[in-house]
Symmetry: C2
Subunit: 597 residues, 2 copies
Amino acid sequence: MLAEEIKQYSIEQLEELAGHLREQLVSAVRENGGHLASNLGTVELTLALHKVFDFPQDKLIFDVGHQSYTHKILSGRDISHIRRKGGPSGFADPEESVFDSFISGHSGNSIAAGIGMCNARDTFGEQYKVISVIGDASMGNGLALEAVFSSEEKPKNFIVVLNDNGMAIDKNNSALARALARTSAKKNYRDFNSFMRRTFKETNAFGRQLRKMKYSIKGWLNKNEFFERCGFKYIGPVDGHSLPELIYMLENIKQLDVPILLHAVTVKGKGFEAAEEDPARFHGVGQNFVGSNNSFAVALGRVLCARAQTDPTLVAVTAAMTEGAGLADFASQFPNRFYDVGICEEYAVTMAAGMARGGLSPVVCLYSTFLQRAYDQIVHDVCLQNLPVIFCIDRAGFVGADGKTHQGLFDLSALRAVPNLKIFAPKDCSEFVDMFDYARSLACPVAIRYPNGYAANLGSRMRINHTMLWETLTEGDGVIVLASGARAVGRALDARRVSGLTNVKVINCRTVKPLDTGVLDRYAGHKIITFEEGYAAGGFGSAVAEYYAQKGEAVQLLLLGAPDAFVAHANAQEQADDALLTSRELAAHIRALAQSE
Amino acid sequence: MLAEEIKQYSIEQLEELAGHLREQLVSAVRENGGHLASNLGTVELTLALHKVFDFPQDKLIFDVGHQSYTHKILSGRDISHIRRKGGPSGFADPEESVFDSFISGHSGNSIAAGIGMCNARDTFGEQYKVISVIGDASMGNGLALEAVFSSEEKPKNFIVVLNDNGMAIDKNNSALARALARTSAKKNYRDFNSFMRRTFKETNAFGRQLRKMKYSIKGWLNKNEFFERCGFKYIGPVDGHSLPELIYMLENIKQLDVPILLHAVTVKGKGFEAAEEDPARFHGVGQNFVGSNNSFAVALGRVLCARAQTDPTLVAVTAAMTEGAGLADFASQFPNRFYDVGICEEYAVTMAAGMARGGLSPVVCLYSTFLQRAYDQIVHDVCLQNLPVIFCIDRAGFVGADGKTHQGLFDLSALRAVPNLKIFAPKDCSEFVDMFDYARSLACPVAIRYPNGYAANLGSRMRINHTMLWETLTEGDGVIVLASGARAVGRALDARRVSGLTNVKVINCRTVKPLDTGVLDRYAGHKIITFEEGYAAGGFGSAVAEYYAQKGEAVQLLLLGAPDAFVAHANAQEQADDALLTSRELAAHIRALAQSE
């Protein structure tokens, strides 16, 4: 395994290897899509960590984990099929390898997890090092900040590597980022010197070695009060692309037992010109570096820009999802009404609640998987006050290659219980636009959920126009299919065709809350199938079952939703296949139900 | 209204009023229970704010809001029935008064909400001040820290008053607290002077006034880098019990338009000796200052201490709920295995996940309403990795006097969808202990939910002993009542008696996930009622309805749970009455169902 071999490598050999690794990274992302810029930025850092520490005895925790591809290669994983079904995941995952010490995907967990692992290690009297690698954008997340601030005493033999590339997914304008940037390389040189002398008094050749180093050491050590007050010995900034610097620092840090924060400055996209120049574009890309085609995100961007022309109260809020959520045009056309707060989902939601309280009409745009990070803020700050905040929930349903940490399968279950909140799920982009306008006309919180990827226009029989009524797409007196959400409705229409039964009534259940109880009452005596892409537990079908059960009405109802399991990376269609949520499966259910008594 | 009258009051009159207010606070809390120490600590601060600013034109946002009683009195509310049904709430609430600008109850939202309100104000070109009052413990919450760090540019005319009483609900050992405490009163006096001269150059009499002041100004102004780097002009620390100091500072601050952080040092329990000496005891108290009698919390404390004797891997984690969750004895007996992380629910959960990953057996003890603040961490860090973390969820169901911000009604809906997680609900404390041991024997995450208050022992017919089976409490071939949770089971047994029907079968559905499908299959043809204290949407009854619907089985099922609305303060029994979840209501449903076809 490379991880073992490189222990013997010279700096020159490592630098040569770095070049090969970059080629592999570019090739793998070109083939499979993925996170390119962040991985190119951490090649040397990862090499240096593997050169100096002994994984998996020492524990390496990546925050977010989208920068862990080099680590995957070194620890024996073939990334040529990364993010494909059966290939390695795009994030670190202990189920995949013992070299991955903790799950990653959502930002900000690495320091808390690392402290927990240190606590366990110290309880058992074990000796390994715990190393958390966290980006500067993740460091601004509430979970990471809680971990940094919660206790002044940090565990020993705990090393946080702050991978500072000076940008979040989009631009990074946080106070934290500025504080880091202001770190002066000069003023604390004396502090550095005395700290190093004190610390390395055993290795008394240190002073001489120091002068021999070919690179400037002045920039390295810095008494950064921010971290020092929180119990870390701050060391840095260090050049995150200089293998000699990194290895030298890590070798020395390895001998310390105090909690360390090593501040490494890296360049996103390093070594691949296009990515260095436009790292945001190469943050997460599809195959052949093409951006994804997400119909709903495009539709959101368009309607936001259009409505903002005439409605000065309309503002958009996101948490580092500007590009992905379709907000780039709005951000450039209406910079004063656009709020990208960085990876701070909680702050995004509560700040939006404050804006709504003050009379604005905020649209909060988050992926389903990240929305769940602000669940309490949705409940407590928005819905309890019945504030007119619109949540545009992208990536709802199976998300494809990002896999199990990123699935958008929880939102309906968690949100359905929240009073005052209305929940919509459009069948296509045209309906989404109608819904968006309808939501703006309501004086209450509204969540609109939709999937990623291409969404066909399914045609309109009944526009959503100041009603909560469902739309009957095909008439018939046979099995009733209650489908909710774009993919489910599309598949239901397909399933009807596949089933060969022309009397199947497909209904577009575009409001999950409230339900169209008129429809439910009308068809209570019929054979009904509910169909959705979300966890069955607590989802749309569950709402239908509840409705009848709250009335005490016995109905013949078949509920189809995602089974009770986490769903690994694959493409979204494969994920639907595995969950038995395809049009073919639905057609089989329709036929079976039609033939039943 | 007092708020208007005090504008004309002299300092002496205000000081006299402060004494009367304290009497009212003590009397109201003695009568109704509530938060005493925090309210006694903010009398002068609240008086000074009302003296200087013009509410509700200016906007006042309390963080948590448990310190808002004086504000309630000044703004015309009679607190003699505070926290009682129909009386004022124990927290700030815009539905109650226009003087409350934002909902409060959960910690850390005031800065985010304040920034949002400022953004709205500035969009509309309005002129009011926005003032957020936040305690030092809340300042360490992730949401507050995100708001502080997210953007370096804070809005103008925004004032954060940091109410620093140097303690969270229990002791406060956070890095943030220490950083605040270290603030030196002396070293930045020059900074202060030049800032004040620069700032108040219009009022050039300032320098002379300064020397006339009878109190030392040196301690006031301080260049606190922590906040300055985050875009606030830091002013303080100021004596939060000195009306002259407070009013003088606020008068001057009012003339500034820069974002200000005013650091006020207060004493919890101020003016009431017993509370000053033991503020933790007087943080939240019942009527006559008696602590609450929460049977499950007591049982948890006992079983934790007992099992910790023989199991060195057992550790307990909470987020500022040491007393309330029943952990005080464990904390003193096993200080090295007890982690109170302050008001950092997210950190608590992810840190516990790290400890579990490292081989420990963490028990995370949180109230239901605060658990929802760590929903994503439960999903992503614990359950996705299938780590053996036990969640002891206290205050599940109606919580009584704390009211709508604190209800424990969401947990089942949100948690049921999470794969790998098992969810239990004991009928009494004896069963809770069995469950706790059973949970420890499982290698997966487990959530155990139970209500506050007294819980009678309901007797055991079938101990939970390495099975997930439900317990049949009364035999019969009539209506089947599937009751989940201590209160529901107790009421179901009562309802059976009240109904006069001896053939009612009451089943203790002690595992919500997984369900006992053997029981459900056996009684599919019967008349079934599900009964629970939690939102019907996505809750236990919903799980039963889903189970049958996923099998496509038509059943006669009546689902009884909390209706889709937030539930205001009252006692827990009144809340159950209003939700139609009493034994009498259930008995009526049983009789009606028994007589139906």
